[in-house]
């Protein structure tokens, strides 16, 4: 297979220049792919998919036949990120996460940013992730957002924007590691290209978790809390626990006793000091949040408030995982760090502002409208392709609850060549790097490149026909 007739289609292509020549950082990969014998790439791709199915790297689709598992579609052509592209991304993400963490801490303490008139109080308090139970708390090292997955997109002119910050339980990092493992096994094309490794993520994650243990604990014990095998990200929970060599627990394995969190073992009860929980705040503790939750641990919030256990990410972190709050992040960076934001936000209209709302309602067919508090691409309006009824529906919804909606202009997401049968076609991508915050801030080189596999589609979510690619950050 060659790229001879490959068409960048007027979009920003991550691999090729508009004149059809490969970008300098992609030249050697293009040569190697074109140098493969006929049919070899397809064969390798099929081997990779078989390996993913057999190793059970799957996710569960909701709303489909109960508990259907699918492999997360995987494309064999990697996305290349040059060092020149990556450096500002890395610096920009560190800057952003530092500011977000300061914001969360401020929200639950003095609220200087509100008093100084930068972020309105009612925006903070109406954010779905805001938790009064967290007021005045001081998590170890002052860190709230230990693990962040920030979605980045590149527009037609080459600008890289931050699309959203996922600060609750961002998922997908296991695919980054497994994609790399599969690529290494089936497609050893990248020897000598200087691809930065991702394999050390689990040990960095474990160090971070140990670094934020309660202050009085010498040798902290870490566990991963999962909602269970029916959760869509269960594979990832078990993968990370296995890679870190720590226990994977469910709520029913845990009990609060003798002033500590304990897990039920075949030899009695054992202490847990740091809980990397992959369930939302709402389900964490039925005595504190939703009383109908069977997933959580009664009494764990009380322990947390007393500093007897560390919860990762900290409860209440979700206050910053709101698309209205998102719009204020550039100003947070200036306010807390006195720096210019390195990575820009996508210009965002906030429907709660009268002027913005009027604009949005007048230009609905041109805009992307998103609920302030949803993820996974659910409940979103894609104006340019929406049916009339959907437009009317959203118009009514925006007017009924303006705080809950934001709108952004359509971005022409950049594309990467993707294998379609026996040729390459451009498909739109985004990028979700993962950022760890414990003793210091670390950004995993690359992250998850999600690709909209349907021709022309701009929606990359796995629940909506998206797949993924390995992401090669060059050193």
């Amino acid at each position: 297979m060659t790229f001879e007739n490959y068409d960048t289609g007027g979009f920003y292509d991550e691999m090729f220049l508009p004149d059809g020549a490969p970008r300098p950082e992609a030249r050697r990969l293009v040569e190697r792919i074109e140098g493969l014998p006929d049919g070899e790439l397809v064969r390798r791709h099929q081997a990779a998919e078989r390996s993913l199915l057999h190793t059970g790297i799957t996710f569960t689709v909701y709303g489909d036949e109960a508990g259907t598992e699918r492999i997360f579609p995987f494309d064999i052509v990697p996305r290349i990120v040059s060092r020149e592209t990556w450096d500002p991304i890395e610096r920009g993400l560190k800057q952003r996460v530092e500011a977000l963490n300061l914001f969360i801490d401020d929200v639950y303490h003095d609220r200087k940013i509100v008093r100084d008139g930068i972020v309105p109080a009612d925006i903070v308090e109406s954010s779905e992730g805001y938790r009064t139970e967290c007021i005045g708390l001081d998590p170890p090292r002052g860190v709230w957002c230990h693990i962040t997955g920030t979605d980045l997109v590149r527009d037609a002119d080459g600008t890289i924007y931050v699309l959203e910050d996922n600060l609750r339980c961002p998922s997908g990092v296991s695919y980054v590691l497994e994609n790399r493992a599969v690529m290494t096994a089936t497609f050893p094309l990248f020897e000598g290209l200087g691809v930065r490794p991702v394999i050390d993520y689990p040990s960095r994650l474990l160090s971070m978790l140990e670094d934020v243990a309660p202050r009085d604990v010498d040798r902290p014990r870490v566990a991963v809390l999962t909602p269970g095998v029916y959760n869509s990200a269960y594979f990832e929970h078990s993968f990370l626990a296995r890679q870190m060599g720590v226990g994977l627990v469910e709520g029913r394995d845990l009990v609060v006793a003798d002033g500590r969190l304990q897990m039920r073992t075949t030899r009695g009860f054992e202490r847990v000091d740091v809980l990397y929980r992959r369930i939302d705040d709402d389900f964490l503790d039925p005595t504190c949040f939703r009383s109908d939750s069977l997933l959580g641990v009664p009494g764990v919030m009380d322990l947390y408030q007393r500093g007897r256990v560390t919860l990762v990410n900290a409860p209440g972190t979700g206050v910053a995982d709101d698309k209205v709050v998102y719009a204020y992040v550039p100003r947070m960076i200036e306010y807390y760090l006195d720096q210019k934001p390195i990575l820009p936000n996508v210009p965002t209209h906030l429907c709660w502002r009268d002027e913005d709302r009027r604009y949005v309602l007048d230009h609905l067919p041109e805009l992307f409208v998103k609920p302030a508090n949803a993820s996974g691409g659910y409940g979103m309006l894609v104006g340019p392709t929406a049916a009339r009824a959907d437009l009317d529906d959203f118009r009514a919804r925006i007017q009924a609850a303006p705080r809950n909606y934001i709108a952004q202009r359509k971005l022409d997401l950049s594309r990467v060549p993707t294998r379609v049968d026996h040729r390459f076609e451009g498909r739109h991508v985004d990028l979700r790097p993962y950022i760890l915050y414990g003793r210091d801030i670390y950004v995993l080189p690359g992250g998850l490149t999600r690709v909209a596999l349907r021709k022309g589609s701009l929606v990359v979510n796995s629940s909506q026909g998206g797949g993924s690619k390995d992401t090669w950050v060059l050193s």
């Binding site: 269970g228 095998v229 269960y234 296995r242 039920r264 075949t266 009695g268």
Partner: protein, 321 residues
């Protein structure tokens, strides 16, 4: 280790072993029926009786034909003991302990499950039953072998062995019981070639034919029962299974064998002691079928005590969710 994890590993192994034994039972009957002179003589209902799911079968099927019984025992998702149901649950348990079992072992469990879900699986089970059930058996052995070669022989492994051997002991009593339900064409046939054929098939279904031959030579009812129940060395005999389960149970707790520190050790110890001092003559005299029933009850009791001792502990005053 986590109680839930120990329980999942225990059940993972039990379900794989159960699936293997269903394949053994179906496989042997298939072979046996091929040897019958007349198609009209085919007997498939004993296969259902021996699994203890007769009522469920009758509720869903009209007659105990070959294809109905194979469907029921192999693919029927409504039958909790079908091979497919066993594998679904085994895989679910395996998924919930993927961080404990080796990746290789998980992969074998997953492959086994995917094999049953292949679009032409049904058709292959019906048209080439021998190869199909052979594959099931081999898949189970692959899982067992992979487990032994890739997992640390530590606590999780011991729980897996406890599950595997308790289930196998139970299944061997059921294979032996097939003979009880099998009809002989007429009373005159006792001791005739057809009777021989049935005992031989039964031994084969427990992979015991060759080992039996070396030990006892001629096929005779009493010796077959003795071999499958009381033999010390044969890996599928009830006595051997109970003893191996006991070794692992005591490896978990550290209690010396022949003493007990909990109800599980006590229940299993009593069963092993009973088998130690049982003479097959007494078994046959009082009735093999009743003896097998009693062993099954005792194995259930051991299972219950294992659950109480290791999987369902509570903190003082805590009610278990």
């Amino acid at each position: 280790m986590l109680s839930r994890v120990a329980e999942s590993i225990y059940w993972l192994s039990r379900y794989i072993e159960r699936a293997e034994n269903v394949a053994r039972v179906v496989g042997v009957n298939n072979r046996l029926q091929l040897d019958l002179p007349d198609l009209a003589d085919e007997q498939w209902d004993p296969m259902v009786k021996v699994t203890g799911d007769e009522e469920r079968f009758q509720a869903g099927y009209e007659a105990a034909t070959r294809s109905n019984v194979i469907e029921f025992l192999t693919f029927d998702a409504a039958n909790p003991n079908s091979i497919f149901s066993c594998l679904t649950r085994a895989r679910e348990n395996a998924r919930s302990v993927r961080e404990i079992i080796s990746s290789e072992m998980w992969e074998e469990v997953n492959r086994f499950y995917l094999f049953l879900r292949e679009p032409d699986a049904r058709q292959r089970a019906m048209s080439d039953a021998h190869a199909f059930f052979e594959h099931v058996r081999r898949s189970s052995h692959l899982i067992e072998g992979t487990k032994n070669e890739t997992m640390e022989h530590a606590e999780a492994w011991h729980f897996s062995r406890i599950g595997r051997f308790i289930e196998r002991a139970d299944q061997t009593t059921r294979i032996l019981d097939v003979k009880y339900f099998l009809l002989l064409p007429s009373a005159d046939d006792v001791g005739k070639p057809i009777d021989d054929l049935q005992w031989g098939a039964l031994l084969r279904s427990a992979s015991a034919f060759e080992a039996y031959r070396r030990t006892h030579g001629r096929v005779a009812a009493r010796a077959v029962a003795s071999f499958l129940l009381l033999n010390h060395e044969f890996p599928r005999s009830v006595h051997h299974c109970a003893s191996e389960a006991q070794i692992s149970l005591h490896a978990v707790t550290g209690t010396p064998i022949r003493r007990f520190a909990n109800a599980a050790e006590r229940a299993l110890g009593r069963l092993v002691a009973e088998l130690d001092y049982t003479d097959i003559v007494d078994v046959i005299r009082s009735g093999l079928h009743d003896f097998l029933d009693a062993i099954q009850d005792k194995l259930n009791g051991v299972g219950r005590e294992i659950t109480h001792t290791f999987f369902a502990q509570r903190w003082r005053g805590e009610s278990l969710r």
